[in-house]
């Protein structure tokens, strides 16, 4: 069935079709319409799930953890400060190996107060042990939730997953979306089979104290292995989903005209969608540019980016957040995985923070700057803040 849905309605549909049994959530702009839509599904009898209203995002995640521990699928959604408040329990969810799926609508962290898009909220949770998948349109939002349950629930993975969408640009934008048939999703996902659960007939303890000589380190090591294994599971599940539902997702990195590109833009989220239009326009002028849109930030697509870098003269990494390290996160990690594999300039472009609109005109200027770096063979400035007020170069 095709329908016009906002990104948040698409997320609610993705959750509904995956049949979680417990939803625990707390409202926060711009996420709220996800859980409102789900609440309506449940109230209308269209979704068989228990909706738990809680007093904070911390409690929302705590309730999902407890419910998932009893052996059922759970779902929640949040943004920005809500995600930050969950921080402690995010670590619990992943450490306890509970395959919870959560939508995060990227929103800037205050102050100054802002409800608009910025990826700092999720980037700040890159070390939480959650799989992270970023989307570029409402169809991908819906599909990624269904795929995420299948990947996360594999017994060799068991890692929770954030399905991430840009605030307003997706969350409140209506697009045509193909809603898959429930039966097909049921067949694709199957019944949830927990690897372990709380069971009065087989009492067990979870998350107990481990002394330094105990296997704490081994638990962490197994999580690291699971994040590595997720790479092959993601590949398999995405390929299967493409086949069953007629989609064309690249598992890790969506490449657009990168094969012969001199300068490749590595980017996450909706900027990567607009950038494809810009690539087409610049190709008409003979400028060899391409886009590599990173879908999975965790696990990080190291091999894919190394392969892309092999054919390019330079890589420009666009970050829609800043992390006060050696450049922003996508840049720092891209540069790190290229070290020893590709001897080409890598430059960071920080832009669109706090929801500042990213137009084709700005993207074209970034591409032009990237081409001049490719020509010179050296990076003039490692981290470029694009479009600061009063900076005429990008206006």
């Amino acid at each position: 069935m095709k329908a016009i849905l906002t990104g948040n309605e698409a997320a609610a549909w993705g959750a509904r079709l995956s049949r979680p049994k417990v939803i625990a959530a707390y409202p926060i702009t711009p996420q709220t319409s996800i859980i409102e839509t789900i609440a309506a599904f449940i109230a209308n009898g269209e979704m068989d799930a228990r909706y738990i209203r809680v007093e904070s995002e911390h409690s929302a995640m705590a309730a999902c953890i407890a419910a998932q521990n009893t052996g059922v699928r759970t779902y929640t959604a949040t943004s920005a400060h809500g995600l930050a408040l969950m921080h402690e329990v995010l670590m619990w969810a992943s450490g306890a190996r509970l395959p919870i799926v959560m939508s995060v609508v990227n929103r800037a962290m205050a102050p100054p107060w802002s409800v608009w898009t910025d990826q700092l909220d999720t980037m700040a949770e890159r070390d939480s042990g959650w799989i992270q998948v970023y989307t570029q349109n409402n169809q991908e939002v819906l599909d990624s939730i269904i795929m995420s349950y299948k990947i996360a629930e594999k017994h060799n993975i068991l890692l929770p997953t954030m399905v991430i969408e840009d605030a307003f640009i997706l969350s409140h934008t209506s697009e045509g979306v193909d809603i898959p048939e429930q039966k097909k999703v049921d067949d694709f996902l199957g019944e949830y089979e927990p690897a372990f659960k709380l069971d009065p007939d087989e009492p067990a303890g979870f998350g107990s104290l481990i002394m330094p000589e105990g296997p704490y380190m081994e638990f962490r090591y197994k999580m690291a292995l699971a994040m590595e294994d997720a790479r092959s599971e993601i590949r398999k599940v995405v390929e299967e989903y493409n086949q069953v539902f007629g989609r064309e997702y690249a598992p890790f990195v969506e490449e657009y005209k990168t094969e012969d590109a001199d300068a490749v833009m590595v980017v996450i989220g909706t900027i990567g969608s607009t950038a494809k239009d810009v690539v087409d326009r610049m190709r008409e002028k003979g400028k060899k540019v391409g886009v590599a849109r990173v879908r999975y930030f965790r696990p990080f697509p190291a091999e894919e980016l190394r392969k892309i870098a092999k054919g390019a003269k330079m890589i420009g990494v666009v970050d829609r957040s800043y992390s006060f390290g050696p450049g922003a996160d996508l840049f720092a990690e891209t540069k790190s995985v290229l070290y020893g594999h590709a001897d080409i300039p890598v430059k960071n472009y920080v832009m669109g923070l706090g929801g500042r609109d990213i137009t084709p005109r700005i993207i074209e200027k970034v591409f032009d700057d990237m081409l001049s770096v490719a020509k010179d063979g050296v990076v003039d400035k490692e981290v470029e803040w694009v479009g600061l007020q009063g900076d005429e170069r990008w206006s």
Binding site: I4, A167, I169, L170, H172, E175, S273, T274
Partner: protein, 186 residues
């Protein structure tokens, strides 16, 4: 690709209009996106909403700066907001007003103007109240006529499926506006 920008006031239904128009295009097999200006809307405050339509998938994920069509739901906005900002030279402006296109051409200093009295039409169909009529569905009927981009029957069907109440009254308001819109000239 066609880009349409709506200017209204909070409570008039500009955001809903942008979605209903997208739905009508979608029902005719087009690709669409519709979105509000990402603000925090308040009743009475200026609101901007956008609709994009194309025959191929839409990859553009940014606001509309150079519209092909501008739809003004409240003529009092013209003195408060630059409704023609970035307007394409051969674009078209549709204004909800009792004035003629010629009068609005002078006021806006722009040649392609159509006018429709959507307020009277909305009141006639009891949409909203006498003092705060909801004109969003009527103006879409006028847009169908002015643009020729979508059939009035499809707009009426999209309204019937989307309007939260008074579906038929809203659809008829669109039809009345379709028939009464004044495109100027002879």
């Amino acid at each position: 690709m066609y880009e349409i920008r709506f200017h209204g006031r909070g409570g008039q239904g500009s955001v809903v209009a942008s979605k209903i128009l997208a739905k009508a295009f979608f029902m005719e097999g087009k690709y669409v996106s519709a979105f509000p200006y990402y603000g925090v809307e308040r009743r009475g405050a200026p609101v901007t909403a956008f609709t994009r339509m194309d025959v191929k998938p839409i990859r553009a994920k940014y606001q509309i700066y150079e519209p092909d069509y501008v739809i003004v739901l409240d003529p009092s906005l013209i003195s408060a907001v630059d409704v023609l900002k970035g307007m394409k030279e051969n674009g078209y402006v549709l204004v909800n007003t009792v004035k003629s296109p010629e009068e609005m051409q002078d006021e806006l200093k722009f040649k392609n103007v159509a006018t429709v009295d959507a307020t009277t039409i909305a009141i006639k169909h009891h949409l909203g109240s006498q003092t705060a009529p909801i004109v969003n569905t009527a103006i879409l009927g006028a847009f169908a006529r002015v643009s020729g981009l979508v059939k009035i029957e499809t707009v009426m069907d999209a309204i019937r499926e989307s309007a939260p109440a008074k579906q038929e009254e809203n659809a008829q308001a669109a039809k009345d506006a379709y028939e009464s819109v004044n495109m100027g000239g002879d």
